[in-house]
Structure formats: C-alpha cells, structure tokens
C-alpha cells in the first residue's frame, strides 16, 4: 500500500531518488524490468497506453504476481488445484520464463 502511494504521487520520470537498474547502468541494455516503475506509475493513473509504452511485460506480470500471492496465501493448492496448475504449473513456468527472455531480447533489438 505504501509502495502504491509512493508510486502514485511521485513520477519516477521526474524525481531522481528512485533506484536505477544496475543491469542497464553496467551494460547499457535494458533488462526486462526496465520501465516497470514508470509503468506502475502510469497504471495507477489508469494510463494503460503509457504503461504499455514503458513496459508491456509488467502489465501482465503485476496481475500474475498478484494472483500468485493470493493463491499462496489462500492455500490454492488444495482449494483451486486446477487454477494453480494452469497458471503455476510446470508448463506455465516454462512459458513465463521464455516470455521474459523473448521480451528481453526483443526490446533491445
């Protein structure tokens, strides 16, 4: 909640105290997470176009992580085994990881 508050009221684009990506600093290439803070800022302002422009991946990952946390917290293994298998099964893991890698390569081309 506090994090959402910070990201809502401060624009990472303008204010410089937000941490920067070490990978970008060192290599000059954007990592798959670069732009996520700006994207979250845009999303909290319901500016989805802006969020897509900053980091499309985060648009999918934020709800995904939220779902994962909910499933872990509410013991999804027992209560929603199908849902968990679909989104957090072995194949889901492979798809998510390869999706991230493809996005990584794609955005630096």
């Amino acid at each position: 909640m506090a994090a959402a508050f910070v990201f809502y009221f401060f624009d990472p684009e303008e204010i410089t105290f937000f941490p920067r990506c070490p990978f970008l600093q060192i290599t000059g290439y954007e990592c798959p997470g670069c732009g996520s803070q700006r994207a979250i800022h845009d999303m909290l302002h319901l500016d989805f176009k802006g969020a897509v422009a900053q980091n499309t991946l985060i648009l999918f990952l934020v709800p995904y992580v939220f779902l994962g946390c909910c499933l872990t917290f509410f013991n999804g293994k027992r209560r929603f085994p199908k849902l968990e298998e679909l989104f957090f099964g072995k194949w889901a893991a492979i798809i998510v990881v390869s999706g991230i890698v493809i996005y990584w390569v794609g955005r630096n081309l």
């Binding site: 920067r20 997470g33 732009g35 803070q37 979250i40 934020v62 946390c69």
Partner: protein, 189 residues
C-alpha cells in the same frame, strides 16, 4: 524403545529420535515416521508407540523389552509403486514468484536464483510421479533452498531500497549535486 526417523515440513529426513525426543521435535499427527521393522513411512498418528505424544501426557508408554541397535537409515520406501506418501512440497509457485518479482523490483539478476528453484521444483512432481520418492524429496529440499535464498536476497534488496530512498529524501533532494549523480544515465528503471 524404537528410534524413529521422521520427515520434517520441508521434506528433510531427520533422525533418529526416541518417542520422547520426537515429542520435543514438535512433530504433527500427519508427520511421516519410520523405524526399523516398518515397511513404509507412516503417519505418526498411526503408530501405536507414538500415541502418547499426541495424548498430551509424556511417560505413559509401556517400557519396551530391549533397546534395539540403530540400523542405518532406510531410504524412504516406495519402490512398490504404492504412493501413500503425500507429494513433497513442490515450491513451484514460490519459485516462479521469486523469478518474476525481481523484474518488478529492478533486481533482474537475482531472478537467476528463482530459475534454479524452478528447475528443481519441476523435478519434484515428475520424480514423484515416477515413484522415486527419495529423488523427489531431494529435489524438493533443493528447490526450497534456492527459493528461500532468492526470497531473503529479495527482502534485503527491498530494505536497501527503502533505506536508500529515505536517505535520498532526507539528504539528497535539496542537494542538486547528489541527484545529478543518480540521474547520470538518463534512464530510470
């Protein structure tokens, strides 16, 4: 009095313990235990000698005839294909989260740890399905180990962040010099 092995909540085999020591290990009714003479791991609540642990009063079991020599740890037995043991915790969902979260938190390098976790986690289920319970337990504890390492590094990272942000708010905002250093590359994360 028999000495027992048991499998802890993280899937590690521990032992050996007397029933009294098991009690102080805080085992649960569904904890799997094994002692020489048993063909399979059993839930602790199904072992007569261990009833006293759950009855709430120590010392009520009858004395056993003779102390048996401790035999080498039998591997968890499951070669008959009967899968009565519950599957060890797979850690899959946790390790996926540990892989994905670093990208949001701008510590993408650490998601490698999560990926190692996923590799081990995905073995847990397939080994278990094949009937290799020992391998499955092993994979489970490996997956748990890497996921926990990733998690602790993640927590340390977030704490570092918060400290850095507080520091910069307190000292940096008014000092243009410092913010110049931090905006050096022109890109935020």
């Amino acid at each position: 009095m028999n000495r027992y092995f048991y499998i802890d909540s993280e899937g590690k085999q521990k032992g050996t313990f007397t029933p009294e020591e098991l009690k102080s290990e805080n085992i649960k009714k569904d904890t799997l235990v094994w002692t020489p003479g048993m063909t399979e791991w059993m839930r602790a609540s199904n072992v007569t000698e261990l009833d006293a642990i759950f009855a709430g009063h120590a010392g009520s079991y009858s004395p056993q005839p003779a102390a048996q020599p401790v035999t080498p740890p039998a591997q968890p037995v499951n070669y008959g294909g009967s899968q009565q043991q519950p599957m060890p915790k797979s850690w899959l969902i946790e390790s996926i989260l540990a892989t994905v979260l670093p990208f949001i938190l701008c510590s993408s390098i650490f998601s490698l740890l999560g990926i190692i976790g996923i590799v081990h986690a995905s073995k847990v289920e397939s080994l278990y399905a094949r009937g290799d319970y020992t391998g499955s337990l092993e994979a489970s504890s490996q997956a748990g180990k890497w996921t926990k390492i990733a998690m602790w590094i993640g927590i340390a990272w977030v704490v570092l962040w918060i400290v850095a942000i507080i520091f910069l708010i307190a000292f940096g905002v008014s000092m243009a010099g410092i913010s110049d250093v931090f905006s050096g590359s022109g890109y935020e994360i």
